[in-house]
Symmetry: none
Subunit: 211 residues, 4 copies
Amino acid sequence: MSTKESANNSAAKAQAKDFQAKTSRGEATRQKLLDAAEEVFGVKGYFRASVVDITLKAGVAQGTFYVYFPGKQDIFAELVRELNHDLRREISQAVTGLTSRREVEARGFAVFFSFIRKHSNLYRIMQQVEFVDEDLFKWYYRRLAQGYVQGVEAAMEGGEFRRLDPETVAYALMGIAEFIGMRWVLWEGKDVPAKALDTVMGMVMDGLHAD
Amino acid sequence: MSTKESANNSAAKAQAKDFQAKTSRGEATRQKLLDAAEEVFGVKGYFRASVVDITLKAGVAQGTFYVYFPGKQDIFAELVRELNHDLRREISQAVTGLTSRREVEARGFAVFFSFIRKHSNLYRIMQQVEFVDEDLFKWYYRRLAQGYVQGVEAAMEGGEFRRLDPETVAYALMGIAEFIGMRWVLWEGKDVPAKALDTVMGMVMDGLHAD
Amino acid sequence: MSTKESANNSAAKAQAKDFQAKTSRGEATRQKLLDAAEEVFGVKGYFRASVVDITLKAGVAQGTFYVYFPGKQDIFAELVRELNHDLRREISQAVTGLTSRREVEARGFAVFFSFIRKHSNLYRIMQQVEFVDEDLFKWYYRRLAQGYVQGVEAAMEGGEFRRLDPETVAYALMGIAEFIGMRWVLWEGKDVPAKALDTVMGMVMDGLHAD
Amino acid sequence: MSTKESANNSAAKAQAKDFQAKTSRGEATRQKLLDAAEEVFGVKGYFRASVVDITLKAGVAQGTFYVYFPGKQDIFAELVRELNHDLRREISQAVTGLTSRREVEARGFAVFFSFIRKHSNLYRIMQQVEFVDEDLFKWYYRRLAQGYVQGVEAAMEGGEFRRLDPETVAYALMGIAEFIGMRWVLWEGKDVPAKALDTVMGMVMDGLHAD
DNA sequence: CATGAATGAGGCTTCATTCAT
DNA sequence: GATGAATGAAGCCTCATTCAT
C-alpha cells in the first residue's frame, strides 16, 4: 500500500517501538541492518538511499528489513539517536576531570572532529534529518546545545568566561565546529589541520580583535 | 522518492544552458516557475518537492516546465546560484564605505540574518544541495568564504585583527552565522534577538575568555 | 491535443493532401523540411526522431512544420513515396534499351546498390514503414515487385528465363538485393564488392547447382 | 513516442543480467511476461508497445515487470536471442542426416517458413531490432549467416555447388527466405504456397537462365 | 508565412511496503 | 525469523500538436 514517507508522524513513531530481537541471531541481523544503513545513508543520502540498498549491503532479504524496523524513516531515526548519544558520551568522557575551561573547549573540538571523521558516513547527512523528521532534527541540536549551555554557564559563573548569552554561545560553538569539520573532514576526508585548530581556539577564547 | 537524477552530471549541465526565453511572455512564465520553485523547495525540501508541485503553484502545465529547464535539478541550481549572487551583493553593498572592521562584521551578520529571513524558504534547504550537486554545494560556500578571506586578510594586515589562519576564520564565521540564523530565523521564524547579536559580536571580536 | 500517431489512418491522409506552397519562399522551406527529415529519420529512425529534431535541422520554428505537413507521419509518407518513385525511375532509365535479360538484371542490381548508397539515410529505415503505415509499406514493395514481374514474364515468354512463378521470382530478387545491400552498403557504408556482385549474378542466372 | 531508451548501451546490458527467478512462482511470472511481450511486440511493434501493454496482457502489476527485466529493451533482447537460438536449432535438427545439398536447402526453407509462421508475432518486428540495438541486430543475422556459410562451403568443396563467394550466397539465401516469408506468411498469414517453394528451389539450384 | 510558447496525454521507471510461504 | 515475489502510487520526462501573435 505504498504510503511513501508521508509527512512527519512522530507520535505514531514513538508508539511503534522498533522491534526488539529476542534471539542473538535476530540481534545480529538487526545490527547488520543498522551498519548497512549507516553506510548507505552516508554515501547516497537519506532520500537517494533505498531500503533495497540497505538489505543488499546487509545481505538479507527485503522482507527482513520490516521484521526489525517499521520503515525507512525509523532506522534512520535510530541511527541519529545513536549518533547523538555516542557523540555526547565521547565528549563528556573526554572532558571529565579537566579543570580549565580552555582545555575543555580544546578537547571538545578535538573530540568532535575525530568523532565526525570516524562517523563521516552518517554525519554527512545530518542536515537532511530536517526534511525527514523536523522534530528529530531540532532535538539533535538542542540536546547537544544543552550540554554546552551548562558548561558555558558554569564557566561564566566561575569567572572564566565573560558574561554573554549562553545559548547563543552554544550555537555559535556548534556552528564553528560543524563548518570547520565540514571544510576539512567531510569535504577533504582529512583531519582538521593544526593551524585550523589553533585558529579556532584563538578565536573562541580571545576573539579576533587585535589586543 | 523515485528520483532518477542520475548522479551529478555537471558537465552536461554546463552545456544544456537553461533556456533563454525569447519573448516577454516567455520570460514571465520562466519567472513564475522560478518563484514557485523557491517556495516549493523551501517548504518540502528538494527531494520531496516534485515538478508537479512547482507547475501547479506556478499555474502552468507540467510540460511547460521542461520548456524552460532541462530538469528539476537545473531549476534548483539556478536558484542556488541566484541566492549566492544576491547574498554576496547585499553584503558587499552593506559594508562598502565602512572603515572599522568591527562595523564590517556587525553589518555583515545583520545583513545575513535579514537576508535569510527574507529567503528563508530557499535558505532552509541549502544543506540539501550537497546531495543534489556536490560541486554546486562546495562552490556556494567557497565563493562565500572567498569574500571573507579577503576582508579578514586585509584586517590582519591593517593590524585590526590578530594574525590567524584566514580561511579558518572565514569558515568559523560562516558557521556561527548559519547556526545562529538557523536557531532563530529558520526554526522560530523570528529576527535574531539583540542579545544574540551582541553575544556573537562580543565572541567574535573579543573572545570568550574573561579579560 | 496530443493524439500521438494513433493507428493507421490512410483514408484521412489521402484527403489531407500535404500543403502546396504558393510562393517560392514557401517551396524552399518545404524542401528544407523534407531534406532535414530524410536525414533525421535515417539517423534516428522514425520513432526516435522528433519533429523538433527536424525543425531544428531545417532551421525553422516548430510551428512552421505544421504549415507544410499535417503531421510527422505525413512527411515520412511523402519521403517514402518519393523514394519509391525515384528508385523505379532510376532503374527503368538504366535498363531502357538493354536487350539481354542478363544485362537487365546486372544493371538493375548495380543501380539499386548505388541508389541505396546515395539514399542510405532514408533507406535504412524502410522496414520501419511497416509499423508507421502498413499499407504504405506493402504498397512500396508491391509497386516495386510489379516492375519486376512484367520484366520477368516477358523474359519467360521470350525464352530467356525458365518458366517459374514470376511473383515469387520478383520477391526473391528483391530479397537478394536488400540483403546484399544491407550487408555491405548499410552496415559497412561501402559499395557492394565485385565478388558479391558476380556471385549474385551467377546465382540468379545459373543457380548454385554445379552444372 | 516518449521513449527514453537512451542510445545503445550494450555494455550496461551485459552486466545487468536479467533477473533469475528463485522460485517456481517467480519463474512462471517471468515466462508470462515473456509470452505477453512476444505477442504485444508482434502486434504493435517495439516502439508502439508499452510496458503497460505487456503487464496488462501478462496480468501482473506494472512494477512486477521490473522485478524481472531491467527495462523494455532487455525483455526484447531476450526474445530476440531466444528466437535466434530456436531458429538455428530447428534448422540444424531438420537437416541433420540429409546427404544431398538440394535436400538441405529445401528442408531449410521449409523449416524457416514454418518457423516464422509459428513465431510470426515476433518475427514481424525483426527489422526493428536495428533501431533498438544495432549490435544485437547484426549479431542476429551474422549468426544465422555463419551456419549457411559453413554448409555452403562444404557443398562447394564437395562439388555439389559451384564456386562462388559463400558469404554472399548466405545473405542472398537469407534475403530470399525473408522476402518470400514476408510476402506470404507475414502479409497474408498463410503458408508459402507450393508454387513459390518450387520456384525458390528452382531459382536457387538452377538459376533463372533458360538452360 | 513564420514563430515560439503552451499543452497534456502517455511512457518509463523506482521503491516503500505487504504478504504468502 | 527469514524470504522474495508482488504491488501500485507517484515521479520524471518527452513530444506531437495547437494557437495566439
